[in-house]
């Protein structure tokens, strides 16, 4: 699981950590390794941030052409005020996107200044919508949540809260890397422009006219209910994505409640700190022991903040896959739509052929308005019949062409979509397993801190 694992596929991408990320990682490692003897069982010497970086590095090391060319970061976020579309003042956050050439530099040379531009969340949303419409057979990576959900009570649900902004920044960076490491999406020109062209990008993306190509919600829903023979694999996939979505949502909800309670437990211990301290003032022999024990209780109470902060990362990893299930469902719906259109086209053709048959043989098998009116108003003339027949023949031919096209579309969709789904499955299994490992590491850190504090407290109590 180490990050120095040679990447499969032969192309060796250099370590894609910026100096900033590297620095942060080192600081974290120093902070985490406060216990004298680090257990070297399995991966317990791995910090949780290292584990997270593994995910990033695996993405990056897979090596798309784009990532071989450039390195992408979202290093900063900034509060801005400006006028919105209805010309009202509003406050929003802008995120800095940095790209720099990926080639490893010779020793001692100064790295080139990166290209950078600022984007706000709504622009990311626009990009994603474009990708959704343009690549309906691809599971498009999700954006970090628009509003904070599954919060436990101390965490602010305010979009402008610095913790929320920070987590969103990380999420946006993750999104860009996901897209950049996707074999198909990474080649998209609009995506590249998003990273490189600040001002004109919006016009460019709108000019693609993707908004017109979007399937209406009504159309999608209608297909979902009326389709008769969706591919079994897709039906199973849809079911799975519903189950995964439910499982993760419930887990996140429980996690939030557990976090809330655990926060309470730790913080109440802080009250011991004050009580012991004040009590120690009237004691002679017990005073010192009580006083120092009190300090350790304060430390214990304070430690929960970092612990729960770490746990937010785990929650974010789960959330990413929760949102991924939406993208999966999107692909399934597209399949249903195409399949439905195929079935409709086939059905149409059958009905037209039957009409033709009726017309030629004179038998009325299907109720038709023309049939009824001819019964009431009298048979049509030979001429009329022949012209109708000709029109029908034409229609049938067109119908057959359309069916062939639709079939081809369906097959292509099935193939390309399923390829991406396989890729996605592998990624999901890998990433979620990493998340679970991450969680275990966090628990271990928490336990180690607990042992330390209570061991210190015990020493103080001994001195009483």
């Amino acid at each position: 699981m180490g990050r120095r694992e040679p990447s499969r596929g032969g192309a060796s991408a250099p370590a894609q950590l910026t100096a900033d990320q590297q620095r942060k990682r080192e600081v974290k490692m120093m902070a985490d390794s406060d216990s004298a003897d680090v257990a070297l069982i399995g991966n317990t010497d791995l910090t949780s941030s290292e584990s997270e970086n593994n995910i990033v590095n695996t993405m990056v090391e897979k090596g798309t052409a784009l990532l071989r060319k450039i390195e992408i970061n979202v290093p900063e976020a900034e509060k801005r005020t400006g006028k919105n579309t209805v010309n009202m003042q509003e406050t929003y956050t802008a995120y800095l996107i940095e790209t720099r050439p990926a080639e490893s530099l010779p020793e001692g040379s100064v790295p080139a200044t990166p290209d950078s531009l600022w984007r706000r969340y709504s622009e990311f949303e626009l990009l994603r919508m474009y990708l959704l419409v343009t690549y309906p057979y691809i599971i498009i990576p999700p954006l970090p949540e628009k509003r904070a959900e599954f919060v436990w009570h101390k965490l602010s649900a305010d979009n402008l809260d610095p913790d929320f902004v920070e987590r969103r920044r990380v999420g946006l960076e993750n999104f860009l890397l996901r897209v950049a490491s996707h074999p198909v999406l990474s080649t998209d020109k609009i995506f590249y422009r998003f990273l490189t062209e600040e001002k004109k990008w919006k016009d460019e993306v709108l000019e693609t006219g993707f908004q017109d190509k979007a399937d209406s919600r009504l159309k999608s829903l209608s297909a979902m209910y009326r389709v008769k023979n969706p591919d079994k694999k897709f039906t199973a996939l849809k079911l799975y994505s519903d189950e995964l979505s439910a499982a993760i949502s419930q887990l996140l909800r429980v996690r939030a409640r557990v976090a809330d309670r655990l926060y309470g437990v730790y913080k109440v211990h802080g009250n011991y700190g004050r009580v012991f301290s004040e009590w120690s003032a009237i004691e002679k022999e017990m005073g010192d022991g009580l006083q120092s024990a009190g300090h350790h209780m304060d430390t214990y109470a304070a430690s929960i903040d970092d612990i729960l902060e770490e746990e937010e990362h785990y929650a974010d990893q789960l959330k990413e896959y929760l949102f991924y299930t939406d993208a999966v469902r999107s692909v399934c719906r597209k399949h249903e739509l195409i399949q439905y259109e195929l079935e409709t086209a086939a059905q149409d053709l059958v009905s037209k052929k039957q009409q033709k048959e009726e017309l030629t043989t004179g038998t009325v098998r299907i109720f038709s308005l023309k049939g009824m009116t001819s019964k009431i108003f009298g048979q049509e003339s030979q001429e009329q019949r022949e012209s109708r027949l000709a029109a029908l023949e034409q229609s049938i031919q067109e119908g057959e062409e359309a069916l062939k096209e639709k079939n081809k579309e369906c097959q292509e969709f099935l193939q390309t979509a399923w390829e991406d789904i396989e890729r996605f499955k592998e990624q999901k299994d890998r990433d979620l397993r990493d998340a679970l490992i991450n969680y275990a590491i966090m628990q271990i850190t928490m336990c180690k801190k607990g042992i330390q504090v209570w061991s210190n407290a015990k020493e103080c109590f001994n001195k009483m």
Partner: protein, 425 residues
């Protein structure tokens, strides 16, 4: 937003949880330690001064208490008794002794809570300035436990047991004839009828209130110091008690939520194939951690909480002792005044005054001797309860640590050829 409607700052590290549910608990903030009016730290505890008066023999005597148990008492076997009018619990009191005052070396009697109350009131009556160990409360105040639930009965039994053991250990109280009667007589009812009645006790109280103010004015310094210590101690130990009970409550609620993890992970595992094993492992881990949490909470309830609570009651007892001493002093002072003003009946009054003087001196000495004993008990009892708690907490974290480390171990990738020798996988 906290309950006062203020927005909490993002950095919570300095803040402790507001004890908003407990009205008497102050909102804890970082205040400086206890100081007097001049800003000096409160002087050393009275025991350090009283220590000067203690002779070597006292030290030996204390040792004797602990190590030579010539009076060994246990309280066990609670049994429910149902009569037409009431239901109550009877406890078995077993005594083993080598003392000559006792006719036999072993006794078994059955006592109910009321009997213990009688015994204690007798002890206090006869030794007004000795520190008699408190009994468990009649009712549980916050109503957390039902009156006859097993937990309640067991907690009470332990406290009654401690009461008798502490009393048996006391150099003076253990020789009380009332204690002997309590331990040996099959039927306590006849003995209970004797002694000053309720009304005379009332009279004492009234006099006590009247005399309190006068007594305070000329209280010897050492007792003032005791009083001051006691006030702070009482307040702090009460706070500690509330904190401990709050922690137990919070942990129980935490445990309830924690238990929900297991079914979540199991359910998720059922939808997965590759991930199923890892998820089931995690489910297993959280379950084990839940069990450990339950055990640790239990330990708090059984060890730390009762120990601290006992001293809350002790502090209350001691307040009573201080009052009674003050009363005795006040009575003496009153009599003395009368003597000074009425020169005619001087001789008769003088005797009375002398009697009160003796009584006061005895009361003072008795208290002075008992105080350090009590202080030392605080130290021993609370220290051991706190150490035990710290050890249990360490054990709890160590066990959980092992659970998660074994999970990580199970998730190791299959060993493969390492070209990079630095890494241990």
């Amino acid at each position: 937003m906290d309950i006062n409607g203020q927005t909490l700052p993002a950095d919570f590290s300095g803040h402790m949880l507001d004890m908003d549910e407990d009205e008497d608990l102050e909102v804890f903030s970082k205040k400086t330690s206890h100081v007097d009016g001049d800003g000096n730290p409160v002087p050393n505890s009275p025991s350090s001064m009283v220590n000067q008066y203690r002779l070597e023999e006292d030290g030996d005597e204390e040792h004797r208490d602990i190590h030579t148990k010539d009076l060994y008492i246990t309280v066990d076997d609670p049994e429910s008794h149902v009569t037409a009018i009431e239901t109550f619990i009877m406890y078995r009191v077993l005594t083993r002794t080598t003392r000559s005052e006792f006719d036999s070396s072993e006794y078994e009697v059955h006592r109910r809570y009321q009997d213990f109350v009688w015994l204690r009131s007798k002890l206090e009556e006869n030794h007004p300035t000795l520190i008699v160990h408190p009994l468990p409360e009649k009712f549980v105040v916050k109503g957390m436990v039902e009156r006859f639930s097993n937990d309640f009965i067991e907690t009470r039994r332990k406290a009654l047991d401690r009461f008798l053991k502490k009393t048996a250990n006391h150099p003076v109280l253990s020789f009380s004839p009332h204690l002997q009667v309590f331990l040996t007589e099959a039927d306590l009812a006849s003995h209970k009828k004797q002694g000053p009645g309720f009304l005379s006790r009332m009279g004492e109280t009234v006099r006590a209130v009247a005399n309190t103010v006068r007594g305070l004015k000329s209280r010897p310094e050492e007792f003032t110091q005791m009083q001051e210590y006691l006030e702070v101690f009482s307040s702090k130990i009460t706070s500690a008690d509330k904190v401990t009970q709050r922690i137990i409550r919070e942990q129980k609620e935490y445990l309830d939520e924690l238990k929900q993890y297991h079914p979540m992970y199991v359910q998720w595992a059922n939808s997965e194939d590759v991930l199923a094993d890892s998820l089931k492992s995690v489910a297993d881990c959280v379950e084990r951690c839940s069990k450990e949490t339950e055990e640790q909470t239990q330990h708090l309830s059984e060890i730390l909480c009762p120990a601290i609570h006992e001293y809350v009651l002790c502090a209350d007892t001691l307040k009573g002792v201080m009052k009674r001493r003050d009363n005795i002093q006040a009575e003496f002072a009153a009599k003395n005044e009368v003597l000074a003003s009425r020169k005619a009946e001087k001789e008769a009054l003088q005797e009375e005054v002398d009697a009160h003087a003796d009584r006061l001196e005895q009361a003072n000495n008795v208290l002075k001797e008992d105080w350090p004993r009590w202080k030392s008990d605080i130290r021993t009892d609370l220290r051991s309860a706190l150490i035990s708690t710290a050890e249990k907490n360490m054990e709890y974290y160590e066990k959980c640590l092992a659970v998660w480390e074994s999970f990580l171990f199970s998730q190791r990738p299959e060993p493969r050829e390492q070209s990079d020798g630095d890494h241990v996988f």
